[in-house]
């Protein structure tokens, strides 16, 4: 029944999907935290930059960003992100695009987490003489992170699904392989079912595990 799978590197394609999700997940966590820090900082210019970044990036389709990294950055401007091989370039460009896009959502999730920390905590920290960065680093962010595990899990799940957009610039991940297989094999329903199952295998456990983690680490108030 599943003979049509032979000759295709199904696991390899899903492995690329996972790698895309992990790398851009880490990247967007770092960039998103920086942006969230900027958005709550006392320096008006940084706040403005953070707000502008989020509002611009959130309203552009991810597809445009990813296609732009290939057509605009790579083919027009020659930005190859330090590799020569064509496949590697596309992979890195996709990670860059996904990171830039997802960071805006990480930033928003974190900012809502910062808002859940009671005002008194920051006031107490300031009363102890901590500076803004110390307040943020030692008191606010650790609590904020613990309260936004669930929203961040949702961002990660959305990111996992969004990695399929990398197919638009020829990264051989799941959606790309699926398209190739549908064109070559006459097994439409089975192929779709296999890929749907693959994505459910990726997203469901993420949601369940991180949902459990979020209950575990939530700050009881």
């Amino acid at each position: 029944m599943f003979d049509f799978l032979e000759g295709y590197d199904l696991l390899g394609a899903f492995w690329v999907t996972v790698k895309l999700a992990v790398y851009s997940g880490l990247g967007s966590l770092i960039l998103g935290t920086l942006l969230a820090g900027m958005r709550v900082s006392p320096v008006p210019l940084m706040r403005g930059f953070g707000t502008a970044y989020v509002n611009f990036v959130r309203n552009i389709p991810l597809t445009i960003i990813i296609v732009f990294t290939s057509l605009g950055l790579f083919q027009t401007l020659g930005v190859s992100l330090g590799v020569e091989d064509f496949t590697d370039v596309n992979f890195r460009l996709a990670v860059l695009g996904l990171t830039v896009y997802t960071a805006a959502f990480v930033c928003e999730a974190l900012r809502s987490g910062i808002n859940t920390v009671p005002v008194g905590q920051a006031e107490a920290a300031r009363a102890l003489g901590l500076s803004f960065t110390q307040v943020l680093r030692l008191v606010i962010l650790p609590q904020a992170f613990r309260s936004v595990v669930n929203p961040l899990a949702n961002v990660l799940i959305a990111l996992t699904k969004n990695t399929t957009v990398a197919a638009a610039i020829g990264v051989v991940e799941a959606a790309n392989l699926m398209k190739t297989m549908i064109e070559a094999e006459a097994q439409l329903l089975l192929i779709s079912a296999v890929f749907a199952f693959g994505f459910i295998c990726l997203t469901l456990p993420t949601g369940l595990i991180l949902g459990w983690v979020s209950k575990k680490v939530a700050v009881k108030r």
Partner: protein
């Protein structure tokens, strides 16, 4: 300007802020210079590459306007079909009958867990194999089908959250005056929850508009993004200019919608007549198992996972 995190600033803090501002400006200026320099080196800033968008109506008439029309057509079709479907499944998930509740839940969770692109590719192949829809119309059908399947399930969750956000007393009171289940839903619960859902629905439209671009990149759907290639071929490899114009159109369109959604949310929250909550843009999150629905509390969450 004060906030939770810092006090009104004294003279030393003010000086420090000025220093940070200057440092940040330097970093921004360096990045801007690098961007300018690399664009200039590839002649992407030459007036001749940007001029078609400003001096002639041709690129707008031939590519951008038709592309935008296709984008809006697909998005509005998807919304119009997905809304009633979503309402149906959302109410189905709240049914008292297990044989309605469980299948509705399964369908909603299934389509929320799968990427839209996978749905679109499948729909496209299915239409070409099992129907005789002409090949010009097929991408539109495929895009709309993918969008409907995904967004109907997200809208179902919005509807469910909206109905659940109403206090129990509403149902009890309806029962007390002898209303049947269907009447309670039609006359009491739905009308009230619609107002609560509006901001979440408006911000879901942004997601629909953004996802139409997938059709252009993968399924030869002639929407806005798809016009980059013919435009840059016609107007002298002005890729950067084309992308800039298209991104600006998308930002203008979606920013209007997001601002409207958060204005609506604020307004509904302030002038709230019912006791139910108001669902913000990030209320119903992306996907993943039986994720509990968070009715956002008093802090304003931005477009969270659901907005991706």
């Amino acid at each position: 300007m004060t906030s939770v995190l810092y006090d009104a600033q004294g003279p030393r803090a003010k000086q420090r802020n000025i220093l940070y501002t200057v440092l940040f400006l330097v970093v921004l200026a360096a990045v801007a210079w690098w961007v300018y320099d690399s664009l200039n080196a590839k002649h992407q800033l030459d007036w001749i590459k940007w001029e078609p968008f400003f001096t002639s109506s041709q690129p707008w008439e031939t590519y951008l306007w038709p592309g935008l029309q296709e984008t809006l057509k697909a998005a509005s079709l998807a919304l119009v079909i997905a809304l009633p479907l979503g309402a149906l499944f959302g109410i189905g998930r709240l049914s008292d009958h297990r044989w309605v509740r469980i299948p509705s839940g399964a369908v909603v969770e299934f389509f929320r867990a799968i990427p839209v692109l996978i749905l679109m590719i499948t729909a496209n192949a299915a239409f070409s194999e099992y129907t005789d829809i002409s090949s010009e119309l097929r991408p539109l059908y495929a895009v709309v089908t993918g969008l409907v399947l995904y967004n109907a399930s997200v809208l179902a969750e919005i509807v469910r959250a909206g109905i659940l956000s109403l206090p129990r007393g509403q149902t009890d009171a309806a029962k007390a005056i002898g209303m049947r289940k269907g009447q309670t839903m039609r006359h009491v619960l739905l009308p009230q929850s619609v107002t609560a859902m509006l901001p979440a629905i408006v911000s879901q439209i942004v997601v629909i508009v953004k996802d139409t671009a997938l059709g252009g990149a993968v399924l030869t759907f002639p929407e806005l993004l798809a016009s980059v290639r013919p435009m840059s071929a016609n107007y002298g490899a002005n890729t950067i200019a084309c992308f800039t114009v298209i991104a600006v159109i998308y930002i203008a369109l979606n920013f209007t919608l997001t601002s409207f959604a958060s204005w609506l949310e604020g307004r509904l929250r302030r002038g709230k007549k019912s006791t139910g909550a108001v669902l913000g843009p990030g209320t119903v999150e992306a996907a993943g198992g039986t994720a509990p629905i968070s009715v956002s509390g008093d802090f304003k969450s931005g477009a969270g996972g659901g907005g991706i």
